[in-house]
Structures are given as structure tokens and as C-alpha cells.
Amino acid sequence: MTNLVEIRDLRVAFDGVPVLHGIDLDVRPGEALGLVGESGCGKSVTWLAALGLLPSKATVSGRVRLGETDLSGAPRAQLEQVRGGRIAMIFQDPSSALNPVLKVGRQLCEALKLHRGLTGAPAKAEALRLMDLVGIPDPKGRFALYPHEFSGGQCQRLMIAMALAGEPDLLIADEPTTALDATIQAQILDLLARLRAEMNMATVFISHDLGAVAQVCERVCVMYAGRIVEQGEVGLLFDRPRHPYTRGLFDALPRLDGPRVPLVPIRGTVPDPRNLPRGCAFAPRCAHARDFCHSERPDLHRQQDGRALACAYPLPAAPATQDTAPARREGVHS
């Protein structure tokens, strides 16, 4: 199967400070890919860079290929055709992501005009259809309202409708539910999953919420300090994480079932991009780090079970027991 998007050695620096250190990433047609990691690890920057949406102080290098089109170094007009057309993107804070002084109907129709050439009555009809599709009650009555007259959840639905306007092959959802209430998060996740299935649209789901990623994604990339550290099928990665960072993210999460025990935090904090450790960026926080980790940086290598892993001393590949709680209680990983 040919890949929809291929990113090769993507590097980004802000004012000379590198924040993305060579990302290789493929997205297959129709697949749901999750990108997880803590703030500042480069999840969003990867896709903003790929679409040329970073501010001018950012320097970007590497290759981004969409089908037959090479996006890296493509002229602006070509990028603008791709954005919202073949690749659409939605963002974290839906209330501020819609233009406050333009009616939502107009913002929807703008996308329809750009990518499908629709204007006038057909555009309005299609916009109403999209509003209905994403679950906005009474689209006709609300077509001419402004974003502040919608709740956060409805704004995110409108953002999704706008993203669908160009009938994209790929939807990048950047923390789409983080700013929303729990019951609304569930609605939006459900909507995204349903739309992906109906429209056969690949989705990249950027989130720090491992639970949400587990529910909607098939494949997951874990990023740390501007690099992919582990990547694989969601079941494989979440049941048997091998990178200590991936494992650490899980152990740090409280659970809604099982005994109420102290959490196992990852010690220390995310390194400053201006002052990255010399070896593995995670080594200073890693309980398994040895001398080698502090001096040499491990590359991302494919493993026998299909995952890719960047760790010199990974956790054992043997299936972990179903219940990870005893491990936490004894603090095996701390």
C-alpha cells in the first residue's frame, strides 16, 4: 500500500534552536495515527511545518511528500491548494480558532469556494449539510450567527465541518478535545471516529491524552524532545510499551479502576531545547539509563514485532502481565 503522506528527516528550528530533530513519519490512506507526548515535544510542530504554517522565524528542512506532490519547498500557491483541500487541520481551542467577526456560515462557505468552487445557493446548501453532518442543531437558524454565539463543543463541530468542506484525504486533529468538558470530549471523539469511517479519511490525532488516542487510533507515535522514540500498532504499544518514556506516561496516569495507589511519576522535567542532554534526551529522567545512554543517542530501529524503537536498553519484549498494578505498587519502574 502506498503511503498518503511521507515525512522524511523533517527538522525545525526556532531562532536557531532546533526543536524537531529529523522526523520520519508515514501516514497510510484512511488510517488513524496518534501522536502522543508532553507539551513541547514537537507533535504539533511536525504538522504545522509539513503544511508550511509555522511563523517565518522557523527554519524547516527535510522532505514532505503527499501522494505524488512534494510539499517541501513547494510554492505558496500549491501549499494553499493542499491546505484545507487534501489535508485539513483542526486545533485545540475551538472558540478562538474561528474568526470572531465573521459569521460561521461565511467561514464555511469560504472553504467550499476555495476547494470545491461552490458559491451562492449551492455553497449555502452544502454548508448547511455539513453543519447537520457534524451535529449542529438547527443549521438554518444558526448559519448567520457568530462564533461567540456557539458553545466550545459546537465551535469544534463547526471547525470539523469546515475541515470536511474540502473533502480532505487527511485530517490533522491537534488536541481537538483538550479544551472541552468530559461529556463533550466523548461526543467529539465519537464524531471524529464516525466521520473517518464514513468518509474514508486518514486522521492524525495529536493528543497528550493516551486514553483518547487508544480509543480512536490504530497506530501510535510517541514523541519526546523533538524525536519519535517509539512507534507501533496501538495494542502492541499500549499493552507492552518498551521505551521507558512510553511506559512512564502510562504509569504516571491514575486509573478509574483497581487499587488507589501512589502514582509513578517520571522524575525531573522535559529538557530545555536550548540545552538538550548529549546522549538520549530522556536519559536524565530514565530509571534504566546507563553510561551509554548519557553519551550516545539511540536511533529509531524497527523491531521484530513491527514497532520502531529508539532505546539502547528497552524494557523486555515479553508480554507484560495483564495487570500492571503490581509493578506499580512495588515501584519496579521507578
Binding site: 508532553e38 507539551s39 458553545s151 463543543g153 459546537q154 468538558d181 468530559a182 461529556t183 463533550i184 470530549q185 466523548a186 461526543q187 471523539l189 465519537d190 471516529a193 497528550h208 491524552d209 493516551l210 486514553g211 483518547a212 487508544a214 480509543q215 480512536v216 499500549f238 512512564g248 506516561l249 502510562f250 504509569d251 504516571a252 496516569l253 491514575p254 486509573r255 478509574l256 479502576d257 488507589r260 501512589p262 502514582l263 509513578v264 511519576p265 517520571i266 522524575r267 522535567t269 522535559v270 529522567r285
Partner: protein
């Protein structure tokens, strides 16, 4: 045993104008809430935005005045806000907010800020205060060499530790935490949660922990109250409440927590959004979103009643018998 905190029938009404000249609409942000916190106990308050949980938190400290009901601390009524008695009382109840950076003064080194409550309430001698600051910093996991640092030189997690140390300086009986870990990354969040757990171990400190994160609340709290549109709709011991939620809203809330391994379609997904508190539905405020609503739900406001040992719920359709439709 006297409760550390005993709030009865608290009511807070805001006037809200929709537009510059529209008639102000009364919004019952907190609508008849009663709760107790026992010594050494941690009470969690969960709910979505607009549920009134943060307003309730401020009312417990007397920062936000109650229009009805009363707050008693260790049996004595809360003195009116701004009085000398009230200020003295603030030494015994402290608050921790979501955003540590705005809670700290960026021009002062952290040790000065941790020490401030000691100076304000004239606790100990100047020499003993310095020792106390050192002790507090150690208790929250800050290194002595960080004493001279300024807030912007610290990470988010470290800042929240400073805020917590400052709140603990006066040796309060009660700590009200409003979303203290929501702004933190997962790995850092766990560090702060564990810190709060350690503080509980002392057995002296009671806590009210306000959060939308059910997982964290379950991990930290002994008892949990679930709020919807200004009212408590269910209350009970944390483990039982999350394992066997009785109120349909709690069921949906628990079910909405994404967990690895649970399929998306097995979740209870609520229709609609929490209504505007200014336009509270009649009867049970949850009825427009509730799959089990019947005529009585639209007409009558359900009262909290015991549904299981130590567990109460305000729903016409939940009785003492074990719920058959638990998620």
C-alpha cells in the same frame, strides 16, 4: 467528631446581563449545596464547566459571599469577609489554584513568597520562620538551592509546589484545591498528585479537591460529590461512586473518561451540552440530556436520598436498590 468544614444550603446567585442593556438574569451558580469534610478527609468535587464547582470552592473560603446558607469551620460560623476574624481564619484554610504562575509574584524569590503567610499571620520568630520555610520546601520536594529562584525560573510543576508550600506554611486544617494539576503535563501531574497524597498521610490535613479529571479525583479523594448546574447530584465514597455510579449524569461522566482498552462505542455518550445556568431547565436540570427522563423529571426537582451505604443521589429513578443499568 466535629467536621472541619460544614457547609449548609449554600446559594450563590450572579446577575448576568446578556448584552449591555438587557435585563440582568439571575444565575444560580450554586443552588443549595450542603457538604461536610471530616478531619483528615479529602472530598472531591467534580463537574463540568458551569457546574458551579469553582464558585463553591471560593464560597467555602468565604472569598465569594453566600446569599444563603452558612459555612461552619470546626463548629464556628465563618466570620464575614474582610473582618480581622476572617483574615485570622485564613491561616487555617488555604487555597491552591490551577495556574501557579498567576498565583505567584514574579518579582519575588520563592522563599520570600513561601514565608509571606508566616509574616502576615505573625507566626514564630523571624529565625524560626526561616527554618519553617526550609522545612516546607523540603516537604514539597523543592531543593534548598532553589530558595532564591524566581517563579519564571521554575517549571510548571515546581511552581505548583511553591504554591502548595505557601498554602501549607500556616499549618492549615483545610486546603481547598481548584484544578491544581490540570495545567500540568502527565508526568509532572503525577509528581504533584503524589505530593498531595503524602500530605494526606500526615492525617492532619483535610482537603477539598475540585477537578474535572475523574481519574485524579478517584486517586486522591476519600469521598466525591458530583455537581451539575449548581447542585450536587450524587455523593459517595470515591471507589464505590466511580465503580457503581447511580445518577445517570455520573454514569455518563464516568463512561466518558477515555481509557485504553475500552472501546469507543461502549461509552454512554450524552446528547446535547450542559445548559446555560441562566436558563435552568425545570425539575431535574439534567432531564433534557437524560435517556431515562420521564414526566416527573420535568416537573419536580429530585432531592438527594440515600441509594447505597454512604452514597446519595438526586434522581427520581434511582432508589435504594442496586442500579440495574449501571454502565
Amino acid at each position: 467528631m466535629t467536621a472541619v468544614l460544614d457547609a449548609r444550603d449554600l446559594v450563590r446567585i450572579y446577575e448576568s446581563r446578556q448584552g449591555l442593556l438587557a435585563r440582568p438574569v439571575p444565575i444560580r451558580a450554586v443552588d443549595g449545596v450542603s457538604l461536610k469534610v471530616h478531619p483528615g478527609e479529602t472530598l472531591g468535587i467534580v463537574g463540568e464547566s458551569g457546574s458551579g464547582k469553582s464558585t463553591l470552592g471560593r464560597m467555602l473560603l468565604g472569598v465569594d459571599p453566600a446569599q444563603g446558607g452558612e459555612v461552619r469551620l470546626a463548629g464556628t460560623p465563618m466570620p464575614p469577609r474582610g473582618t480581622a476574624d476572617w483574615r485570622a481564619l485564613r491561616a487555617r484554610i488555604q487555597m491552591v489554584y490551577q495556574d501557579p504562575l498567576s498565583a505567584l509574584d514574579r518579582r519575588l524569590p520563592i522563599s520570600v513568597q513561601i514565608r509571606e503567610p508566616l509574616d502576615i499571620h505573625a507566626i514564630g520568630t523571624p529565625a524560626s520562620r526561616a527554618a519553617r520555610v526550609e522545612e516546607l520546601m523540603q516537604a514539597v520536594g523543592l531543593r534548598p538551592d532553589q530558595a532564591g529562584r524566581y517563579p519564571h525560573e521554575l517549571s510548571g510543576g515546581q511552581r505548583q509546589r511553591v504554591v502548595i508550600a505557601r498554602a501549607l506554611a500556616t499549618g492549615p486544617d483545610l486546603l481547598v484545591c481548584d484544578e491544581p494539576v490540570s495545567a500540568l503535563d502527565v508526568s509532572i501531574q503525577a509528581q504533584v498528585v503524589n505530593l498531595l497524597r503524602d500530605l494526606q498521610q500526615g492525617g492532619q490535613l483535610s482537603m477539598v479537591f475540585i477537578s474535572h479529571d475523574l481519574k485524579v479525583v478517584r486517586n486522591l479523594c476519600d469521598r466525591v460529590a458530583v455537581m451539575y448546574l449548581g447542585r450536587i447530584v450524587e455523593e459517595g465514597p470515591a471507589e464505590e461512586l466511580f465503580a457503581h455510579p447511580r445518577h445517570p449524569y455520573t454514569q455518563a461522566l464516568v463512561s466518558s473518561v477515555p481509557e485504553p482498552g475500552r472501546a469507543l462505542d461502549s461509552r454512554v455518550i450524552l446528547q446535547g451540552e450542559p445548559p446555560n445556568p441562566g436558563k435552568r431547565p425545570s425539575g431535574c436540570a439534567f432531564h433534557p440530556r437524560c435517556a431515562f427522563a420521564t414526566g416527573i423529571c420535568r416537573a419536580e426537582l429530585p432531592q438527594l436520598q440515600t441509594v447505597a451505604p454512604r452514597q446519595t443521589a438526586a434522581c427520581h429513578h434511582v432508589t435504594g436498590a442496586p442500579a440495574s443499568r449501571a454502565a
